[in-house]
């Protein structure tokens, strides 16, 4: 029996983000603790921030818009980066940009937290600036044909990712709180990193 060693377990408040380093071979579980919460996710190679998880290159590899267990997530050089090992929800988005201050400003809302500003704040220590941010995967976001519909994720739904390279990742429990998105109120998520053996 292999004992899996938890190397990090962190709860992130709704509307906030976190960045963390993950080593090749480790797994990351992203759990929706309350339900209906979108989690924006981006990733960079740990030693080279010009290599990033690219949703468009992942789409192009598989000729599809959705993710399935077993899929590999690719960099913009089409190098394998992450593998989807488990997924209890099954509905995620790979088409939207991160929400950002401009989108909230256009809605007449000043000084709203955004996934993009969460990422920028959390990644500045690595020298990654806001303009460099790639498009995210929106775990648990339900957006067929670019609509924004209530998410399918229930309390405790999760995705489990296996890392194929050393990486820096950032997640944001999306702060969007209009039109019933994120259940109408952003809620907490949990990150768990485990060594594989």
């Amino acid at each position: 029996m292999f004992e899996k060693k938890v190397v990090l377990s962190e709860t992130i408040q709704g509307g906030h983000g976190l960045s963390v380093k993950i080593s090749k071979g480790q797994t990351l579980v992203i759990k929706d603790l309350v339900g209906e919460q979108i989690v924006d996710f981006i990733a960079f190679a740990a030693d080279d921030f010009t290599k990033y998880l690219s949703v468009s290159h992942t789409r192009s590899t598989y000729d599809k818009y959705h993710l399935e267990i077993g899929d590999t997530l690719y960099t913009a050089e089409h190098e394998p980066m992450i593998r989807i090992v488990e997924d209890s929800c099954g509905v995620h988005d790979m088409s939207f940009p991160s929400c950002n201050k401009y989108i909230y400003n256009n809605m007449g809302i000043a000084d709203h937290r955004s996934c993009q500003s969460n990422f920028a704040e959390d990644l500045v220590i690595y020298g990654i600036e806001e303009w460099m941010l790639p498009d995210p995967i929106h775990f648990f976001q339900n957006s067929p044909n670019m609509q924004m519909l209530p998410n399918h994720s229930k309390q405790g739904d999760y995705v489990k990712l296996e890392f194929l390279i050393d990486a820096i990742i950032a997640v944001s429990a999306c702060p969007f709180d209009r039109n019933g998105i994120n259940g109408g109120k952003p809620t907490s998520i949990q990150l768990t990193i485990e060594d594989n053996e």
Partner: protein
């Protein structure tokens, strides 16, 4: 035809650039000018990129544009959006009507991973980086293209049927540099030779 006559009366040509088959080229555009991308012989995909001058950190973002128009395709009158979420261009005319906003540009890794091609081959991402070399834009900054004239309904990449002379015409709202690649994918994969594209820059008389 009527549009072309109106153009003749109202606009003057500033410059023209030919994008060689399977290669890339760039052209500087000022706010208020118009850029036409013409598929000269038909059936040719044009990977299209725009970076805002002088701050080249801002670029045409396909995901931000999708967000604003809430669809995966363009219609005449649509405004395209940058990664700073600012309007950058307006699609004034489109005689083709079918473009892709889902695929990445082809690159070396794409041909290797998807088709098992290991040797160095021409590809859109490198073409665009080369065309923008003078601006200091490195290849990692070449993100998602607008794939003009690409027919990929539901991410099924089909061989395009756009007619010779099909074009799109954009009005630029910001100073920018546009880069275009005549995509070599169908030549590499299906043996259909890549063909040239023409960029025509005009401004009001």
């Amino acid at each position: 035809m009527v549009n072309e006559l109106i153009e003749l009366v109202n606009e003057k040509v500033v410059s023209e650039v030919i994008v060689p088959p399977g290669q890339g080229a760039s052209i500087e555009v000022k706010a208020g000018q118009f850029l036409k991308v013409v598929d000269v012989e038909g059936g040719q995909i044009a990977d299209f990129y725009v970076f805002v001058r002088p701050d080249l950190r801002e670029y045409l973002s396909i995901s931000h544009t999708r967000f604003e128009i809430r669809r995966f395709y363009l219609l005449e009158g649509d405004t395209l959006i940058t990664n700073f979420h600012r309007p950058i261009m307006k699609l004034l005319e489109d005689t083709c009507g079918i473009h892709d906003m889902s695929y990445s540009a082809c690159n070396q890794g794409y041909y290797k991973e998807k088709y098992g091609i290991n040797e160095t081959v021409p590809n859109c991402r490198t073409n665009i980086a080369k065309a923008l070399q003078a601006y200091g834009i490195e290849e990692w900054r070449v993100k998602d293209p607008l794939d003009l004239f690409q027919y990929s309904p539901g991410m099924v990449n089909m061989i395009g049927k756009n007619r010779p002379g099909s074009y799109v015409k954009f009005e630029f709202l910001l100073d920018a540099v546009a880069a275009v690649s005549s995509c070599p994918e169908f030549e590499l994969i299906h043996g259909i030779p890549a063909t040239p594209l023409r960029l025509i820059l005009t401004e009001p008389k």
